[in-house]
């Protein structure tokens, strides 16, 4: 980009900078050192790369410069002056004068300046004669002023006239205002990029200058793996349940019989959730076997005389088979499935979070209390409850939390007290209530990590 400057030049620049207080313009430096301005620009950039040796502020200035023709005139005189000087006292034939390089332009200018006259009737053809003894070549004088960098002595009108004659042009020059930096010195030391073991061993780091870091750049990404965000949220929920004393249920059986999935949950035979449209049914293996026979009979009785999958049915049944009932708190977070076509808002499988408490004398107030604690651990403190309908819980409550961002209440989960029709056939003692709630893990992935 810029010519590499050698150390000699760099140090010459530094010496010049040292002499002036308040700084100097790179153009002046170029003039002083008698080198092209671009070379000084390169030197400034090299010095900047060394750290705080100098500080250089870029600035732009406009100035007048001679064109090629302008330079020629400054050197050899204006065309009209050259024409004038070429004419001897006895005159010159016009056709001979016109053959001069400046002939045409010089002739008409000299004519209009009334420096010369044309005798058309002269014998031997038209002939040109001087009309004055001497002339003053002001054009050349002006151009020489500009060449010396004294264009300020000319009036704008004069400069514009010369510009019109294409002898002058106005150019913008980018230059630097150079001042001493915080670590100014007139000698150049090479900067090191990094500290090396050798420098530490030899102690040479003490004398070295180090190239500054660019703290604006991004770091290099660490070479590591990541956990899936949704699974991280699952870990959070698991942790919350464990903190609250809930035991994890074994729910690692994605395939469940209609009996445990629907019948035991008091899901009516004609409930829409049992539809082919909503539930995946298995063709191979098609049938389940080995149900607890007496329980099955009791469930059948409830259904004939008298959704959505809760994972808890099997565990509650197991609980009821204990000799003496002991209170429990269970949770599970696992995949559930529904027959959907995938799109941005529908998933055929998602993660259901479920909490269940079974004990004597649990109240609806208890369910709200435990939900309050659960959601508080998630950072959700504003809760309210809406009456709702689930086939297997009564009462049923939808849980809403106030979303500060959306400025409205949004549903965050579903909850309820299991119906006695579901619990009694399992053999749970009367007086034992089971409260439960469920929510979908996928909902929370945006809000928590």
């Amino acid at each position: 980009m810029h010519p590499m400057a050698d150390n000699g030049l760099l140090e010459s620049v530094l010496r010049l900078v040292e002499k002036v207080d308040g700084g100097t313009d790179s153009q002046d430096v170029a003039a002083d050192l008698g080198v092209d301005h671009q070379v000084i620009v390169g030197a400034v950039k090299s010095l900047q790369a060394l750290g705080e040796v100098i500080s250089a502020e870029q600035k732009s200035s406009r100035h007048w410069e001679l064109t090629g023709e302008g330079r020629e005139i400054a050197e050899q005189g204006s065309h009209e002056a050259r024409v004038f000087n070429a004419i001897p006292d006895e005159g010159l034939p016009q056709n001979q004068l016109m053959k001069m390089p400046s002939g045409k332009v010089g002739f008409s200018k000299a004519m209009s300046n009334k420096w010369i006259r044309l005798d058309k009737a002269h014998e031997g053809g038209p002939r040109v004669f001087k009309t004055v003894e001497a002339i003053e070549d002001t054009v050349r004088d002006k151009l020489q002023l500009v060449q010396k960098g004294q264009s300020a002595k000319l009036e704008d009108k004069e400069k514009n006239e010369l510009k019109k004659r294409k002898l002058l042009s106005e150019v913008t020059v980018k230059s630097y205002w150079i001042t001493k930096g915080s670590s100014f010195s007139t000698t150049i030391t090479k900067q090191e990029t990094e500290l090396t073991p050798e420098m530490i061993a030899s102690g040479s780091w003490k004398e070295k200058k180090f190239k500054p870091y660019n703290f604006e750049a991004m770091g290099v990404a660490p070479d590591c793996g990541h956990l899936h965000p949704l699974m991280k949220v699952r870990t959070q929920f698991r942790q919350i349940f464990l903190e609250m004393g809930f035991t994890e249920m074994p729910t690692n059986n994605f395939i469940e019989s209609s009996f445990w999935n629907f019948d035991s949950l008091f899901q009516p035979q004609q409930h829409p959730a049992r539809d082919q449209h909503d539930t995946f049914f298995i063709s191979d293996p098609a049938l389940a076997h080995e149900f607890p026979q007496d329980y099955l009979e009791r469930v059948k009785k409830v259904h004939s005389e008298g959704g959505y999958g809760s994972q808890g049915a099997r565990m509650l049944y197991k609980l009821a088979q204990q000799e003496k009932f002991t209170p429990v708190k269970y949770f599970s977070i696992d995949r559930v499935f529904r027959n959907e076509t995938l799109d941005a808002t529908h998933l055929a499988e998602f993660h259901q979070i479920e909490g269940v408490v079974a004990d004597y004398g649990l109240t609806l107030g208890n369910l709200m209390g435990i939900l309050h604690q659960f959601f508080t651990k998630l950072g959700i403190t504003k809760l309210r409850f809406k009456p709702a309908y689930n086939p297997y819980t009564e009462p049923s409550m939808e849980v809403f939390s106030y979303h500060e961002g959306l400025k409205k209440w949004v549903e965050v989960g579903n909850s309820g007290v299991f119906r006695p029709e579901m619990l009694l056939p399992m053999g749970l003692p009367e007086g034992v209530s089971v409260i439960a709630w469920g929510l979908s893990l996928e909902r929370y992935v945006d809000t928590h990590i």
Binding site: G245, S257, F280, V357
Partner: protein, 590 residues
């Protein structure tokens, strides 16, 4: 959850009060309803069919209200208003009464013949006398039937409702079943007669009716109701006759419900008559109709049965977690249309369940209503004193620990679906589907969900394909369940927790995957070695490149494979680079 759409101004007029949207939303919430949307016919048309079609449509404000699936008594404006007014104690719940015909006339009679037994054996009927319709009431009446058809009637499979202008027909009516070729009548809104066979093909293209054809289509006999002059009232559950159709000017309505489920038929009839008897000359009275069964039994409908349950205030207080007197609980229940009073014996409360509340089955349903009237959000929230020690499921605990360490080892966790296509676990992995022990789904909506996965590899390879543009190497893992057929389980299948990882780069990186195995085994505290340790030995597996696959043994038991994937597998998953993989069962390490 059914959604009822009502005109806002009409609703407020009926409620005798204007609400802001927020106030009404609040009232709904408290009562267990949800103000789902505030819109207008015009807005709906614009959304569904574009601006042009909506031109000139009504911009009367509509409230769309979500109603719980078991509250059939709230499926129309009339029911909603009655429920809310009673709840706000501005109205006493009306008492619905079945009456005999005025002037000692004979009740209407519907005779069921035995032919119906094979197709749709039940029917109930009732009469609404001297009703006054307005345009809005008429629309609401039609709309309620539609809502009931979609919900309690389970899309007309269980129950179908027919309503007729009684003054255009004359009883007794006969409910019978006939071969479709022998049934011929002019159906609702058609200009000529059709046989039932012709109707079935006519309605094949009807956007609404075609959904019901399957209910009787393949039956040898179709249900049909005639009046005494042979005029067809309806061919349930498909269509009514045109002759008896009701209009704004209809004064007397004959209602029949035919059904495969008698209980649901009775409930449906009760709902229709309780909701609209409000507009009869003598409000809330319904004229009974006789139904004669093939065996000669005679029943009078509608049942409009009230039943009384007795429960204690203590029961409700204890279940809800409040402390109210029996009198105040009785008052709460009365606000839910369950007229209640204290019996005088202890804290016992007698609760009368009206015919509109078919959802009240058990004492817990009554308890819930008391809680709603008390206000769920007024109940003091308290922590249960249930003391328990938490336990993690050992399999999940192991999974959690391994996941952390695999991520620390530089692999990124993927989460993939447990269901996939047959192709994913068979053809694409160069396996035979019969050998996979896969559980097959009988009714998937798309081929993406034909089977439960038998290994985690296809999910990871699909994830690689979706992330091909990321800088190499790609290193992914998943620890999750696959499903395998298993005769020894009651459901014939079991989950199996697997660990799978893939390395995808310009070179296969077998050593990287092998190194991961070594790290996993180190974490599981299994040392390299033949007997009590782990080792790998060359194996043939069609998914892997020949000579580049090994079987993994731990304590002498095969736990999985690792190796470089077969190039065909790589290209079938639309990948282009070499890839090595490991797939092991982690359950032996519990």
């Amino acid at each position: 959850m059914p959604t009822v759409s009502v005109k806002r101004d009409l609703l407020f007029e009926a409620l005798g009060q204007k609400y802001t949207d927020e106030e009404f939303d609040e009232l709904c919430f408290e009562f267990g309803l949800e103000l789902d949307e505030i819109t207008s016919e015009k807005e709906i048309l614009i959304r569904e069919q574009g601006d042009e079609k909506a031109e000139g449509a009504s911009d009367v404000v509509l409230y769309k209200i979500d109603v719980p699936a078991n509250r059939y008594d709230l499926l129309c404006l009339e029911g909603l208003v009655r429920g809310l007014q009673v709840f706000k104690e501005k109205l006493e719940a009306p008492r619905y009464k079945r009456v005999s015909p005025a002037d000692g006339g004979e009740p209407q009679r519907l005779v069921i013949t035995e032919e119906t037994a094979s197709v749709r054996p039940h029917a109930v009927a009732a009469v609404l006398r001297n009703i006054t319709f307005t345009q809005e009431r008429y629309e609401s009446f039609i709309e309620l039937q539609e809502k009931l058809h979609q919900n309690i009637c389970r899309k007309r499979t269980l129950v179908a409702i027919g309503t007729h202008d009684l003054d255009t027909i004359s009883g007794p009516f006969t409910y019978t079943a006939k071969p479709p070729g022998e049934i011929r009548f002019k159906p609702l809104n058609q200009s000529k007669e059709y046989t039932a066979t012709e109707l079935m093909s006519l309605y094949k293209t009807d956007s609404h009716l075609r959904h019901y054809l399957h209910i009787i289509e393949n039956e040898p006999l179709y249900p049909i109701i005639y009046d005494s002059n042979g005029i067809v009232l309806s061919m349930p559950p498909i269509i009514n006759g045109d002759h008896s159709k009701i209009s704004l000017n209809t004064k007397n309505i004959f209602i029949e419900c035919t059904a495969t489920d008698l209980t649901k038929a009775k409930t449906t009839l009760d709902m229709v008559v309780t909701m609209f008897s409000e507009y009869c000359e003598e409000p809330f009275t319904v004229e009974g109709a006789e139904v004669v069964y093939p065996d000669g039994r005679l029943c009078v409908y509608p049942e409009l049965a009230y039943r009384t349950e007795t429960l204690s205030g203590d029961f409700i207080n204890k279940r809800v977690g409040i402390n109210e007197s029996a009198e105040s609980i009785a008052q709460l229940l009365t606000r839910m249309c369950l007229r209640s009073e204290v019996s005088g014996e202890g804290d016992l409360i007698q609760v009368e369940i009206p015919p509109t509340r078919a959802d009240v089955i058990h004492a817990c349903d009554i308890m819930e209503d008391a809680a709603i009237a008390y206000g769920f959000n007024n109940i003091v929230r308290s922590t249960p004193r249930t003391y328990t020690i938490a336990n993690q499921l050992p399999l999940n605990k192991l999974t959690e620990l391994l996941r952390q360490d695999l991520a620390a080892a530089g692999f990124t966790e993927a989460l993939t679906f447990a269901l996939c296509s047959e192709e994913d676990i068979a053809d694409k992995l160069r396996k035979n589907i019969a050998e996979t022990r896969a559980v097959h789904i009988s009714n998937p909506k798309t081929t993406e969900f034909q089977v439960a996965r038998t290994c985690l590899l296809p999910g990871l390879l699909k994830t690689l394909a979706a992330n091909r543009k990321m800088p190499l190497p790609l290193k992914l893992f998943e620890i999750s369940d696959v499903v395998l057929k298993d005769e020894t389980k009651d459901i014939g299948a079991r989950n199996n927790r697997r660990l799978c990882a893939v390395y995808y780069n310009k070179s296969p990186g077998f050593e990287v995957i092998h190194g991961l195995l070594d790290r996993v085994m180190q974490l599981l505290d299994v040392k390299p070695g033949r007997n009590q340790g782990y080792h790998i030995q060359a194996a043939e597996d069609s998914t892997f490149f020949p000579g580049r696959c090994a079987e993994i043994f731990s304590c002498g038991k095969s736990i999985g494979h690792l190796g470089v994937l077969h190039p065909d597998v790589i290209s079938r998953f639309e990948l282009t680079m070499p890839c090595s993989a490991i797939d092991i069962d982690i359950e032996p390490f519990l």
